[in-house]
């Protein structure tokens, strides 16, 4: 006899996204996002220094989540998307 069960999941198929094309150069605006974990700022500071040394033409913008415990607020995500060509997120502890 055929057995039938009811699907316990949300039944959604995850969207597959392609990686953006790699141009081989870094130019434009780079977002550095601190998720507000302890010492995340230390890592981000060092990253900013190195990037500035190696890629003086790049514009670096700093962002910070209000708390690491919750997803970034919509407004913050919108600003980062509008103002950046690259994003680096620091998950430090």
């Amino acid at each position: 006899m055929k057995q039938v069960i009811i699907d316990p999941t949300d039944e959604r198929v995850p969207l597959r996204r392609m990686l953006a094309a790699r141009s081989g150069t870094i130019a434009g605006r780079v977002a550095l996002l601190d998720i507000a974990k302890p010492r995340g700022d230390v890592l981000i500071d060092r990253l900013a220094e190195h990037l500035q040394d190696r890629l003086p033409g790049v514009e670096i913008n700093r962002y910070r989540k209000p708390t690491f415990t919750k997803p970034a607020p919509d407004e913050l995500r919108r600003r980062i998307a509008e103002e950046s060509d690259f994003v680096i997120e620091a998950l430090a502890d």
């Binding site: 069960i5 699907d7 316990p8 999941t9 949300d10 039944e11 415990t69």
Partner: protein, 535 residues
């Protein structure tokens, strides 16, 4: 006078023993419906009377035997040389629709389907009255029956339509249009338990397969429409319907009456204040800790006494498990993916219990939080996924005991972490008695805990002997004076962060604590929701 309130019997169409189709209702004539099954001795006793009714009144009243299994029907016809039509209800749909508990059940209805007379089992007087009624309706003479050869009464047998498993299937079929979730059909050779494991649908223990019958049964526990959206579940921000909650509640092993608690708990955790996303995602081992308050505790047989925080009680175990399965299966929080606890803890399977309100010297948790005593309420706390016990077998005053428990709380998070957020302190009955003897209220308990846990800043700073602790930067200090370093910080940011309930066995001078996680607006705050029961 027209009876406008008449309820007509359900219409049906059944094949008969001579390949004909019998249809009701309405019919051309009145109908005697005789539900029988072959392996029931009382049905056997009845067959001769059914045949006699057919012979005497059959020209003017339809007399139908309705049998509950195809093979048995043929045997009954042969054994009793039945000439009355034998209708095949082996699908049991008509028996179910007519609400039968027992066979034989004999129903006389007029041509529109209005019920005139019904009885179940065998009653000699019932049959005599039925024959008299048939004679009156048809104008034909009653047959001569040797009533003395019949017993006065015999109980019937259970209708096949109420046999375990069959009743649930019939109910699901009758109401099948209520379920809208995707159905997964398994191959003949597939083991459903293994299938659920392979598809990553379990928490690591076997789950009850959520068949349509079981899901329909679960939905009887709520008055809400199965399509109602209960909440949007992080991390995938997926809308969860009542039906999906019911599916996962089946898998967890819940009974239908537990479903409203699972729904209320889900509403509580899927709020911004509770922040289930963070509670699940944190590398700390946190989980929703569910406390049930109010009269529903007794109706669900919840454990609030011996072993309240342990195992062995179905409602405690499965309500917490159902909540976690919804968050996993609908919300998408799975270990190793978005759920990323470094070590985890066994309480991540399920953590749900009730407060022993009747044994507490204080008002119950939900009353303290603004609900009425007679309301049933669920409170969700985002805490460590396991309790830790604090022993004190010798304190005999409230001051000594609460001071002692306070010192036990120093270990929450880390002894040098002070200014912390919510915890849940579960005071055992014996400890509660000691505190009650001195008539201490909860505010006094909280104040004493803050008093005994307060430490000078100097002792809480990170140093070479213990790298964990607070920093001057976090305190906004650069070059503190000795006086500033002597300032004391209590363990908890605010006394109200110390949530207190009473639970546990009558014997044992041990209390317990669930330590917290990041507490307050930057993390998780406890949330209470009223439980909407179906009764």
């Amino acid at each position: 006078m027209a009876d406008v309130s008449t309820n007509y019997l359900p219409a049906f169409e059944l094949g008969d023993s001579s390949n004909g189709i019998a249809r009701a209702f309405p019919c051309a004539r009145a109908v005697l419906l005789c539900f029988v099954k072959e392996d029931c001795p009382t049905c056997g006793l009845t067959m001769g009377l059914i045949e006699a009714a057919h012979i005497s009144f059959g020209a003017l009243v339809e007399v139908w035997a309705i049998g509950q299994d195809a093979e048995g029907n043929a045997k009954l016809v042969e054994r009793h040389r039945l000439t009355a039509p034998m209708l095949d209800d082996s699908a049991l749909k008509v028996s179910f629709a007519y609400g039968l508990d027992t066979v034989p059940t004999i129903i006389l209805a007029d041509s529109r389907g209005a019920e005139i007379r019904r009885f179940a089992g065998f009653g000699r007087d019932d049959w005599r009255e039925m024959f008299a009624e048939l004679a009156r309706l048809s104008g034909a003479d009653s047959p001569s029956i040797d009533w003395k050869s019949y017993p006065e009464s015999r109980p019937g047998c259970g209708s096949k339509s109420v046999e375990p498993g069959i009743a649930e299937r019939l109910d699901a079929e009758a109401r099948g249009d209520k379920l809208t979730a995707r159905r997964i059909e398994l191959g003949d050779a597939e083991d459903v338990f293994e299938f659920m494991f392979e598809r990553g649908l379990t928490d690591g223990l076997p789950v009850v397969p959520p068949t349509p019958e079981r899901v329909m049964w679960m939905l009887t526990g709520t008055r809400r429409d199965p399509r109602d959206v209960v909440a949007t579940v992080p991390p995938n921000l997926a809308p969860v319907t009542v039906e999906k909650v019911a599916v996962n509640a089946v898998m967890a092993g819940c009974r239908p009456e537990y479903l409203p608690v699972v729904i209320a708990a889900l509403e509580a955790v899927c709020t911004d204040e509770f922040n289930i996303h963070g509670v699940m995602a944190t590398t700390w081992g946190a989980t929703p800790v569910i406390v049930v308050s109010g009269p529903i505790r007794h109706r669900l047989g919840m454990n609030m006494g011996m072993m309240a925080l342990g195992y062995g009680t179905r409602s405690n175990a499965t309500i917490g498990r159902a909540l976690k399965l919804v968050i996993r299966n609908v919300g998408g929080a799975r270990p190793g993916e978005i759920e990323r606890s470094t070590l985890g803890a066994i309480g991540k399977f399920t953590t749900c219990f009730a407060e022993w309100e009747e044994r507490s010297p204080w008002e119950p948790l939900h009353v303290e939080r603004g609900f009425k005593k007679e309301e049933s309420v669920v409170t969700a706390f985002g805490l460590e996924a396991g309790s830790r016990q604090i022993a004190d077998q010798t304190s005999r005053t409230a001051r000594a005991l609460v001071g002692s428990l306070g010192l036990g709380l120093e270990a929450c998070w880390h002894p040098k972490q002070h200014g912390s957020g919510e915890i849940l302190l579960i005071i055992s009955p014996e400890h509660a008695d000691t505190i009650a003897r001195d008539k201490w209220n909860k505010a006094q308990v909280r104040a004493r805990i803050q008093e005994v846990t307060s430490r000078p800043i100097r002792e809480l700073l990170q140093d070479d002997d213990c790298g964990e602790g607070i920093t001057l930067k976090a305190l906004g200090m650069t070059n503190p004076t000795e006086e500033q370093l002597a300032q004391k910080i209590p363990k908890f940011r605010r006394p109200e962060n110390i949530n207190i309930i009473v639970a546990g066995g009558d014997a044992g001078k041990f209390s317990a604590v669930f330590a917290g996680w990041v507490s307050g607006p930057m993390g998780s705050s406890s949330v209470s929701r009223r439980i909407e029961e179906a009764i």
